[in-house]
């Protein structure tokens, strides 16, 4: 078999790349090792109901008229109409540093400004200077690492506010510890605070089906349960892949969304990328009946919280770091149809190494997983109020769950801390897209796929 373009990975970056290419040249093939598409943002069934694996909210909300906004550019590139998506904006969200301060924000940025002016009056002038900087900064121009923390602190002169600004941006897309690159900070600040959050009216499955149907409508092909054993090369040219089944598929161009180190492994090459600690996460879903009333969960969409004296975003020494994290109420988006259940999702940083150790003994692993759900519940109850008695279903994903289903090394959802922004890994016709290219979130992942196709492949083929 020979295709013009072969894509490794059917996550959102791979799907968007495939769809972009198939609009013009239909014979694309996506290879996905799992039985379903979506990668990190997929779904599974329990108790006859669909559960989303990764989706909390989609960032980068944009009004239809704003043509240059990432979301609208993406939809134009994929020839998808906004109305096909059924967008629902967040109600509002909160950054809560318990015992210290809280800041509310919504898709109306002026709320966030008012909150900062009210609660951090002496930093407000600095905050407006920071906004000017963010507005003028080009995060896509090649640049060395600049510490976002230092830039923010220089403007705000307030450690607490600096941490509170960084907390949501780190939890929703930083692969590095306790700091961010300024460019990444600017991208995430725009995506979360200036643009805002939304979700589709249905589930992630509807979004994946929409993309898949458009793609297949152009003639594109998908093969699930197809795991690549190795990439076949001739010098710096890739020829195709060999699947674990032994089958060979040849191609003119290849796009790998499998991660940088993972791709080098398939090439039989050692990665020259600097090794930095990868960040693992645990997530627990608590399903509760709609009748359960919790004040803070009534209309908050997402709560980014910290309960410690200082905010620490790094790989924990213990199995899970419960001191900070994210609490998401996926039903709290505007005008969603009412459902027969509600969810509360909690996320914390976790140690892959320790989970791996626990997994040497199945019963130890399961009991640590139970303990994790209970401890996370206790943290959530301190913020939201009690709901332990009402829980009808509960499930916990560990870094090992994520690694198993998404093939992301060490279950690190934001991938390698070192990003390859231009997708060029030194081969003539193989490029990298997705998490390790550096765009994050659903809109970011899709733009990653589209931009690598545009930049490296459509202009050459």
């Amino acid at each position: 078999m020979h295709v013009p373009l072969l894509i490794i990975g059917g996550g959102l970056s791979g799907l968007a790349a495939a769809l972009r290419f198939a609009r013009f040249i239909p014979d694309v093939l996506i290879l996905e090792q799992h039985s379903r598409l979506g990668g990190l943002n997929s779904y599974y069934y329990r108790n006859k109901r669909l559960f989303e694996t990764g989706l909390h909210a989609i960032t980068n909300y944009a009004n239809p008229k704003d043509k240059k906004a990432p979301l609208n550019r993406l939809l134009r590139q994929l020839k998808i109409k906004r109305k096909e998506l059924d967008l629902h904006e967040q109600v509002h969200s909160e950054i809560l540093f318990q015992g210290q301060e809280s800041l509310r924000f919504s898709n109306d940025f002026s709320l966030f400004c008012r909150e900062i002016e009210l609660k951090f009056p002496s930093s407000y002038a600095g905050f407006t200077e920071l906004l000017t900087l963010i507005d003028a900064y080009d995060p896509f121009a090649p640049a060395d690492f600049i510490s976002a923390r230092k830039v923010i602190q220089d403007k705000l002169h307030n450690d607490l506010l600096t941490d509170m600004l960084l907390c949501p941006l780190m939890y929703y897309g930083s692969s590095i510890e306790n700091d961010m690159d300024l460019g990444q900070f600017v991208i995430m600040f725009r995506a979360i605070f200036l643009e805002g959050m939304f979700r589709p009216g249905g589930t992630i499955k509807d979004l994946l089906d929409l993309l898949e149907n458009h793609y297949k409508g152009y003639g594109g092909k998908v093969r699930t349960k197809s795991c690549v054993q190795r990439i076949l090369t001739d010098g710096k040219k890739v020829l195709g892949v060999e699947l674990t089944s032994g089958e060979e598929i040849r191609c003119d161009y290849m796009l790998s969304t499998a991660g940088s180190e993972e791709t080098f492994e398939l090439l039989g090459e050692s990665s020259k990328i600097k090794k930095l600690p990868r960040l693992g996460f645990v997530e627990t879903i608590f399903e509760i009946p709609p009748a359960t009333k919790l004040k803070k969960a009534a209309d908050n969409t997402i709560i980014f919280f910290n309960t410690a004296a200082t905010f620490n975003y790094s790989s924990p020494q213990e199995t899970v770091d419960f001191r900070s994290g994210v609490i998401c109420m996926p039903q709290n988006f505007q005008n969603l149809a009412s459902l027969p259940y509600k969810e509360i999702r909690t996320t914390h940083l976790a140690s892959y190494k320790l989970w791996k150790k626990h997994a040497e003994n199945r019963s130890v692993y399961n009991s640590v997983k139970d303990d994790t759900a209970r401890s996370s519940l206790a943290v959530a109850e301190k913020i939201l109020g009690n709901f332990a008695e009402d829980i009808v279903y509960r499930d916990t994903f560990t870094p090992l769950t994520i690694e198993r289903f998404t093939a992301k090394k060490e279950g690190a959802i934001y991938g390698n801390p070192s990003k390859i922004k231009d997708g060029d890994i030194g081969y003539d016709n193989l490029f990298l897209a997705g998490t390790d290219q550096g765009f994050l979130g659903i809109v970011g992942a899709m733009l990653s796929g589209v931009s690598i196709i545009n930049q490296h492949i459509l202009t050459r083929i």
Binding site: F24, R73, R76, N454
Partner: protein, 83 residues
């Protein structure tokens, strides 16, 4: 293809990219990019649509030739003379 037909073709492709594109005030000797709020990603769409519809291979170094509606017509006229 006549110059007018080429012009219509380009506008049709742009309309396909952005259904809200406003051609009423479009000046044919001014950059399309500024007037219609198009970015480089959108320009690639024009190139790829021309390829798909008329089997035209436009090399990357020629993309600047597509800057204005007039320059598009000038550039495409010899390429589409038999179309």
């Amino acid at each position: 293809m006549t110059r007018d037909a080429i012009k219509d073709l380009v506008l049709e492709i742009i309309e396909d990219i952005d259904e809200d594109a406003d051609f009423d005030t479009l000046e044919s000797d001014k950059p399309l990019r500024d007037q219609l709020d198009l970015d480089s990603m959108d320009f690639l769409d024009i190139v790829m649509e021309l390829r798909k519809r008329h089997k035209l291979q436009i090399p990357e170094e020629d993309y600047p030739e597509l800057a204005t509606l007039d320059s598009c017509v000038n550039y495409l006229e010899p390429l589409l003379k038999d179309a």
